[in-house]
Structure formats: structure tokens, C-alpha cells
């Protein structure tokens, strides 16, 4: 058998070019488009996941405003103007958590292995998920804001400040996407990721200034609440929507977002690179 080898024998230290097929920008964008489309189709195929994300805030608005509203503030409308903007602020991060469950599912079902045998940039898979989740968050914002306005919430600060509030929520949510990614790659199943996210989110949400003023809380809780980034986020969104001075709440949120990103993004990326 005359077998001519394509490669020099091992050990001959061949001067092979390193991996030099760069993926061009246009190809990257095409891959990103195809993968984002796939992620959006996944959301469409599982509308309940969207419903979950919307149903919880809707129930909370109804419950808190109509059941506890009278007890919490002078009247329901005053309480709505207090609570709903803060709750809107958390929409961005609730949805960031879906990133981790989606990533986990892709690893579990072997879909990630399929992607890894394709000549695409590995970060493209991640980026496409972030884009899809952001789009989903934008839809959730639109629905929730619409719902709150139907119930009678006023956007005192006008559309630009409302957009600023949404943007701030998304920026903070984006920093939590890295945390979500880490959870998604560390835990065994998508359900575990979801459970874990809930476990972290619940105390953060209730131990914040979203539903009640920290000054009304017992001392230890007040201390926790004042340092909880979700309080700063709620305060900032509330101030923007009600056209009140934001103080240093916006800056605090941005610092938190930057700090979370600086700490968790390298960890998440390193872990992702190791697994792909």
C-alpha cells in the first residue's frame, strides 16, 4: 500500500501554520443572526417561559397595590407610584437569569457539542443568547409598562426618563447575565439553575426598597436593604419615572453593575472557554 502522508511524521516539528482561518466580520454577523433567530424561536416555542416572566410581576402589582396598597401608603395610587417603578427596575434582571438555564440546556442536550464542531466563534453562541434575552426583556418592559399605565400609573418624568430607567435596568441585568452564566455552567440541570436563581433573587427582592421604605424596617433589615443594589436600582427607577432627584442612586447602580461584571465576567468566560 503506497500511503503518502499528508503530514510529516510526528516529532518532525512541522512548521504548521497556527489556526489561521479568521472568521470574517460578515460571517460572524451571519452566525450571530442565525443563532439569535434560533434563540428567539426557542422562546416562541416555549411561550410559558415568557408568561412566567410576566405573570409574577403582574401578580405582584395587583397583590401589593390592591391588597396591601392602602396599608402601605396614604392611598393606592400613591403606593403604585412608589412600588411599580421599582418593580419595573427588576425586570431586566429577572430575565437575565434565563440565560443560565438556556446555556445549561444547550450543554445538557448536546446542542453545544454540535455547535463546537462547527467553524464558528465560540463567543458567538453566548452573544446570541445575550441579544435574545435583551430583546425578551424589552418585550417584557413594554407589556409591564403598558399594564401599569392601564392601572393608572403616571409616567411623570416623561418618555426619555422612562427609557433611562429601562436602560439602567438592562445594564444592571446585563451584569447579572455573567452570574447566570456561571450558575448555568456549574449546576447540573436547568431546573437547578432556575431554583438557585430564585433562591438568590427572592431575598434580594423583598429585602430591598421595592415594596417598602427601608426606614419602616427593623434595624438589621434596614442595614441590609440600604446596601442592597436592588434598592439603589428601585430608587433610581422610581426617581426617574416620578421625576424626582435621583441623588446618587444611578451612580450606585452603575458601580454595582461594573463591580459584578469585573468579578464574574472573567470567571464565566474562563469557565465557558474551558468547557468549549
Amino acid at each position: 500500500m503506497s500511503t503518502a502522508t499528508l503530514n510529516p511524521a510526528p516529532g518532525a516539528a512541522p512548521a504548521l501554520p497556527a489556526d489561521d482561518t479568521r472568521i470574517g466580520l460578515r460571517a460572524h454577523l451571519r452566525h450571530l443572526g442565525a443563532l439569535t433567530r434560533r434563540n428567539l424561536m426557542r422562546i416562541k416555542a416555549d411561550p410559558e417561559s415568557m408568561l412566567d416572566a410576566l405573570l409574577v410581576p403582574v401578580i405582584m402589582i395587583v397583590l401589593f397595590v390592591y391588597v396591601f396598597g392602602g396599608a402601605m401608603a396614604a392611598d393606592q395610587h400613591t403606593y403604585m407610584q412608589y412600588m411599580v417603578p421599582g418593580l419595573l427596575g427588576t425586570t431586566g434582571l429577572n430575565l437575565a437569569m434565563a440565560l443560565g438555564t438556556g446555556l445549561n440546556t444547550d450543554f445538557q442536550t448536546g446542542v453545544m457539542d454540535r455547535f463546537r464542531t462547527l467553524p464558528i466563534g465560540r463567543s458567538t453562541v453566548l452573544l446570541s443568547k445575550m441579544i435574545a434575552e435583551t430583546l425578551r426583556a424589552v418585550v417584557a418592559f413594554a407589556v409591564l409598562i403598558g399594564f401599569a399605565m392601564i392601572l393608572g400609573m403616571d409616567i411623570v418624568g416623561g418618555p426619555l426618563k422612562l427609557l433611562a430607567a429601562v436602560g439602567l435596568s438592562l445594564v444592571f441585568g446585563a451584569s447579572l447575565m455573567w452570574v447566570s452564566m456561571l450558575l448555568g455552567m456549574s449546576l447540573r440541570s436547568a431546573q437547578a439553575v432556575q431554583g438557585m436563581s430564585m433562591l438568590v433573587m427572592m431575598p434580594l427582592q423583598f429585602g430591598s426598597s421595592i415594596f417598602a421604605r427601608p426606614s419602616t424596617m427593623p434595624g438589621w433589615l434596614e442595614a441590609f436593604t440600604e446596601h442592597n443594589p436592588l434598592s439603589a436600582l428601585a430608587d433610581a427607577c422610581r426617581a426617574l419615572i416620578n421625576d424626582q432627584p435621583v441623588g446618587n442612586s444611578v451612580l450606585t447602580v452603575l458601580i454595582w453593575a461594573a463591580a459584578i461584571t469585573v468579578v464574574t465576567a472573567p470567571l464565566a468566560v474562563a469557565r465557558f472557554r474551558k468547557r468549549t
Binding site: 500500500m1 503506497s2 500511503t3 503518502a4 502522508t5 499528508l6 503530514n7 510526528p10 504548521l16 501554520p17 497556527a18 489556526d19 489561521d20 482561518t21 472568521i23 460571517a27 451571519r30 452566525h31 443572526g33 442565525a34 443563532l35 433567530r37 434560533r38 424561536m41 426557542r42 416555542a45 416555549d46 442536550t109 448536546g110 446542542v111 457539542d113 454540535r114 455547535f115 463546537r116 464542531t117 462547527l118 467553524p119 464558528i120
Partner: protein, 326 residues
């Protein structure tokens, strides 16, 4: 058509350990361009691990491997352009329809939207999935998923195709369909590395076989080659007068040849363990004047070959494993 024999896949001393488990313990093999190599081995032999190394999914601990001339460790991106993989476990997106699964992969392989669509429909048709094309893969049966996964690995017309137990769980008709598709890919110039537990499949598709066990190559070669290598041909004699069968057998036994006969089939069979025995048999039958209507030698089946080879390797290996590690 003249073609220079070149290796599409070359593996040199690949090692992959998982803790104490030596999934791959220094594997060497080569697959010539345009041929099908059947990779056989008992459960846990390391077949899937090898396929995953060659698909850049896991990094080997030692050794080198080239696919289509690209180094698995140093040129993974170029290598990925030349391969297609159907893993042992299906890797389809359950939420998407069969069509969308294939279209997505076409786009990721840089096909134009039009080509990706056409290719997706073409493969759905070939794997009899046209009727289910628009349904989410979640609702597919096991065999349908398997076929979708196979179709997915063929979208880019890869030069090298890895099929890890591609027909496990398929009904006989779809199995034939898959075989046809694999042969078509080979006809179009692809090289295939196929792992399988079905000897019939190996016999249908493979040009050469490599048997691995406990992470090592224990046998290799053409199918006929392996069969003769393992030896144990069986000789079957059809006498002109079937009534003489018992007498024939007795004569041979007296000459030291273990012969058996079956009155039903009217055949005398001898399990040959060395070549000299064939001469002895013919000599005995001739001098005793038995009439012989037909004589035939038969190679062992591939199943027998597989059992013999892996059986041989596992006995000393188990004994070796029991010894304390120095």
C-alpha cells in the same frame, strides 16, 4: 480514476485518561481518503472518546492526530470545516422543528439562505423526515431524532464524516436508508469513520476494520484479512451417499480429525485449526473411497471474529489489571 492513497485521518499515540480510567491508551490508526473505516470494540473500549478527540470536542492528554491534514490541537477551526459528526447521543434542538435545526446548521456553515433551505429539504427528504419537517423535534421518535442528527452532520458535505453508532435503535428499513446515504457520501468522495456494534453494518460499509479494547488497538485490517487471521475456517463436505455420513465421521476421528455431521443437512463439518488438517481430511476420504459431491471452506462470521479477538485481549488484560500498581 487514479487516486493517490492519502490518509484523511491519522492518529498517532493518542492518550486520554479520566482519572484511573485509560479511555485511550496510545491509539494509532489511519483512514485512507475516500474509504470507510469501521471502528469496533466492546462497550467502554474508547470509541466515542476517540471520535470526540478527532472532532475537537476533547483534548487528548498526549499524541497527535490529523484530519484532512489539519492538526486537532493546533488547527481546530480549519479542521471543523472538513468534518461532520453524528455523536452517539443525538444533539438536536428539541424546541426547533427538524427543518429549522438543519437550516440553522446550514447557515452556521456559511451556506446562503437559499442554499441552506434547499439543502435542508433535500436531506429531510433523503431521511424520510419530510412529513415531520415542520414539527418540533421534541415530538420525534428516537429513530427520527437519530436520522435528523445524521442529516445534520451531512449538511456541509464534509470531507470526513464521523458516525458513532449511527444506526443504533433504527428499524431495518431505515437502517438500509442510512447505509445508502453513507455510501452516497463515500461516492461523493467523503471519508467515513464509523463505530458500530452491528457486524453486518461493518461488513456492509467498511473497507477496513480496527478493533480497539481498553483504549488500545488490538487488531486491524480488511474484513477477509481479519477473518483468516483469526483462523478457524470450517470445512464442509457433502457426500454422494448421505448414508455414509456416520462412517465418514468415524474414519476422520480415527485419523485425529474432530469431525461432526448432521443428517438433516447431509453435511459433514470439520473445524480446521491448521492448514495441514485439510490435506489429511482429503487423504482419508480418498483412500477410504468415500464419494464426495461437494466440498467448501467457510470463513468465520465477523461476529465470531469479534468475539475471538476481544475475548483474547480481555483475559490477560483483566489478569494484568488485578496486579497491584507498582
Amino acid at each position: 480514476m487514479t487516486r493517490i492513497d492519502r490518509n484523511a485521518v491519522e492518529v498517532h499515540g493518542i492518550v486520554k485518561h479520566y482519572g484511573e480510567t485509560k479511555a485511550l491508551d496510545g491509539v494509532d490508526l489511519a483512514v485512507r481518503e475516500g474509504t470507510v473505516l469501521g471502528l469496533l470494540g466492546p462497550n467502554g473500549a474508547g470509541k466515542t472518546t476517540l471520535v470526540r478527540v478527532l472532532s475537537t470536542l476533547i483534548k487528548p492528554d498526549a499524541g497527535t492526530a490529523f484530519v484532512g491534514g489539519y492538526d486537532v490541537l493546533r488547527q481546530p477551526k480549519q479542521l471543523r470545516r472538513t468534518i461532520g459528526l453524528t455523536g452517539q447521543y443525538a444533539s438536536v434542538d428539541e424546541a426547533l422543528s427538524g427543518y429549522e435545526n438543519l437550516y440553522l446548521i446550514g447557515r452556521l456553515l456559511d451556506l446562503s439562505a437559499k442554499d441552506a433551505k434547499a439543502r435542508a429539504f433535500e436531506l429531510l427528504e433523503r431521511f424520510s423526515l419530510t412529513d415531520a419537517a415542520k414539527r418540533p423535534a421534541k415530538g420525534y421518535s428516537g429513530g427520527m431524532r437519530r436520522r435528523l442528527d445524521l442529516a445534520a452532520s451531512m449538511i456541509g458535505r464534509p470531507k470526513v464524516l464521523y458516525l458513532d453508532e449511527p444506526t443504533t435503535g433504527l428499524d431495518p428499513r431505515t437502517r438500509n436508508e442510512v447505509w445508502d446515504e453513507v455510501q452516497r457520501m463515500v461516492g461523493e468522495g467523503s471519508t467515513v469513520l464509523l463505530t458500530t456494534q452491528y457486524m453486518e453494518e461493518a461488513e456492509q460499509l467498511a473497507d477496513e476494520l480496527t478493533v480497539i479494547d481498553k483504549g488500545r488497538v488490538i487488531a486491524g485490517g480488511g474484513i477477509q484479512e481479519l477473518k483468516t487471521q483469526v483462523g478457524g475456517q470450517s470445512l464442509q463436505v457433502r457426500p454422494t451417499r448421505p448414508a455414509e455420513l456416520p462412517e465418514m465421521a468415524r474414519s476422520l476421528q480415527e485419523a485425529g480429525i474432530p469431525a461432526t455431521f448432521s443428517e438433516e443437512s447431509g453435511l459433514l463439518s470439520v473445524h480446521l485449526t491448521d492448514e495441514g488438517q485439510l490435506t489429511t481430511v482429503i487423504g482419508v476420504l480418498g483412500t477410504r473411497g468415500f464419494g464426495v459431491a461437494g466440498i467448501d471452506t467457510k470463513l468465520p462470521s465477523l461476529d465470531e471474529v469479534f468475539l475471538t479477538i476481544t475475548g483474547k485481549s480481555s483475559v490477560p488484560a483483566q489478569a494484568r489489571d488485578k496486579e497491584p500498581v507498582a
